[in-house]
Subunit: 424 residues, 2 copies
Amino acid sequence: MSPINIFGDVIPADARIERLLAQIDGAHAELGEPATLSRERANILLARIIWSRSCDPGDGVAGSLIAAVGAEDALHLVMRSVSPQHVTALLREHGSTISARAVAEALGRWEQRLKQPETILDIERAAAAGLRVVIPGDPNWPAQFDELDQHAPTMLWCRGNLTLLRSTAISVVGARAATGYGTHITAELVQGLSEAGLTIVSGAAYGIDAVAHRTALAAGAPTIAIVAGGADRAYPSPHAPLLDRIAAEGLVCAEMIPDSAPTKWRFLQRNRLIAALSGATLVTEAGVRSGSINTAGHAAQLGRALGAVPGAVTSATSAGCHRLMREYGAEMITNVREACELAGVSDELQIFADEPNTREREWQRRVRDALPLRGSRTLAEIATAAGLAPHQVRGVLAELELLGRVHRADQTGDASPKWRLARH
Amino acid sequence: MSPINIFGDVIPADARIERLLAQIDGAHAELGEPATLSRERANILLARIIWSRSCDPGDGVAGSLIAAVGAEDALHLVMRSVSPQHVTALLREHGSTISARAVAEALGRWEQRLKQPETILDIERAAAAGLRVVIPGDPNWPAQFDELDQHAPTMLWCRGNLTLLRSTAISVVGARAATGYGTHITAELVQGLSEAGLTIVSGAAYGIDAVAHRTALAAGAPTIAIVAGGADRAYPSPHAPLLDRIAAEGLVCAEMIPDSAPTKWRFLQRNRLIAALSGATLVTEAGVRSGSINTAGHAAQLGRALGAVPGAVTSATSAGCHRLMREYGAEMITNVREACELAGVSDELQIFADEPNTREREWQRRVRDALPLRGSRTLAEIATAAGLAPHQVRGVLAELELLGRVHRADQTGDASPKWRLARH
């Protein structure tokens, strides 16, 4: 098979498209100005972008073919209308057992969607919405997605801080129809998890998801929304402001092309990404038929830690949590310390002692309260504001720095270093 | 060692004491009139009664000595003031590793309490209160107690239906400071467990214990209260009417001698009997320091099934249940079906379908409602009262009979059999 230039042979190699591609490339955009892309980078980005449009989330045939020959050659095979028998034989060579029939069906699906003008539109939409793309092999690509094997996403469309994809995360998900209890306990646990330095991953849905994101935002902690439609599309629409805030201070991402509508299938597939991205999944409140059960199922299948919060057995919105504990081996989570243990965050620093208000923890709160939301302060200023001795503040600042909650402010030639709150 | 006659040598062999002994002997009392006892039976009853006064509940040295040489000879050794070294050597011969010092201490404790007049008083008190004694080897002695090994009780003082000691039982225990939630869910579960034919064992304390007993009584189902003081003593005193009802329709039992005051130690030891008597222990609501945690610990140690009902993590009265699930491997129980499974009761008869109101279950209720609380009815009468067809009533009666909920009324020469509600 002769090599193909996606950029040129498939998508017109004009300067405008090249500029847009550079603009949305997650690996380049950090530089601040639209760099020019190498032909190689443009090819691989385009190939992935076309795959993102051509196949449904979790398409195992596409995943297998891309794993076998790479995204570009896989695309080339489809464009050359290679016979299903040929593709099946190729997959067999690479150890796949996908049937010829499944391959034939997949080729039919993909060909229908392989439309050049729409792909240009996808790129334009992404650039207009400020999206950036991340593909396997990129520095920010989450290695955890590889565990999804042939069901891994072909790429991510992102809005926000891409580096969060590499942070230590816990998914906190639950019922849309959250109760006061679910809301309360979700906020309490997310507050604690945020303070422990974890990134909160959720699905931006009504109810528990929204509480998880909002609590993280309020705590100034990182949060990632993985959405089922396009990353530029607000769903549910009243959550547009919330998604904008998450994009501004955290990250919104999707495997679907821009402007995609979320569908039932896409929600179910989206859940596998929520489960895969984080080391642990915590369901704080869920009915027996909640989508969170699906997310939890993915987490269990991936061997991720799974936790659930118990509630009254008389509450239908806790029945799903109870089911997860009885049938899925989910660990029972009743407080922040247990949630941190679930997420694999050690409490070495003993910020989560059994007694909720140890002196250490209280001091941490006082020091953090003594720091301004914007700007910075010296140790002496903090000590005065917090009502603690300078040596006490020094120890607490060291702990908070280790936890990623405070940073030394950038400064030049000042004898006394200044401290500021971490804004992720 | 020459054989001893407890009746005669230790307790005066007079006719009045012989009559009282016959009256309180659980193996004879069923006959209705005070039978005379064999000298052998009188000896072993008296030996156990004296041990019941002489040692604290769960006294492992006494248990080992009785297991080694029998209650009578063990008593004889103590009365002859045999040296601790001799007793220790004897225990060693029987495989015990109890230290000479522990034996010396035990001998000292027992001798202090070995008082003839008090033992006569114990017998008089028991007879006056209508208590009956059950000892190891008796038909009603619960074989499960043997699993307590040297900590098994030396005997039981009982008030009520002794045959219940042989029934299939589940312990339902929990916090004294029960909430509306705990009360509600305990009543619901006990109602279902009662309908499944299980005997409910509890401790007659305030809160969950009382709800468990009362629900069983209201369901006309058997219930056993194991108390920490004397079986004739109402503790807490406002529970005197409740204990009287349990004695009248179920069973109250104790290992302590009549009129004993319950103490903290005795409560803890009593809990081992609650755990040992039943195949499963269910804690429906408990704080982290609740006595139920102790009962549950005994159950876990004995390898008995252990269950706990989850609740809101914001509720201190559910924290103990959550701890049992996280740390003791207690199974999470959220409904009657799961509670029955915990107790090992199969739902072969499918009375516990997932839908709470299957037709079968509704029919059972209607048939039971159609039976009078006292007296009996024919199948035709029941069918009329229940608004069901005779063939439907026939099937339901067969099921209820299997479950022990209804019985054929005793009658002679009547063509059409009559049915009555089971009163345990």
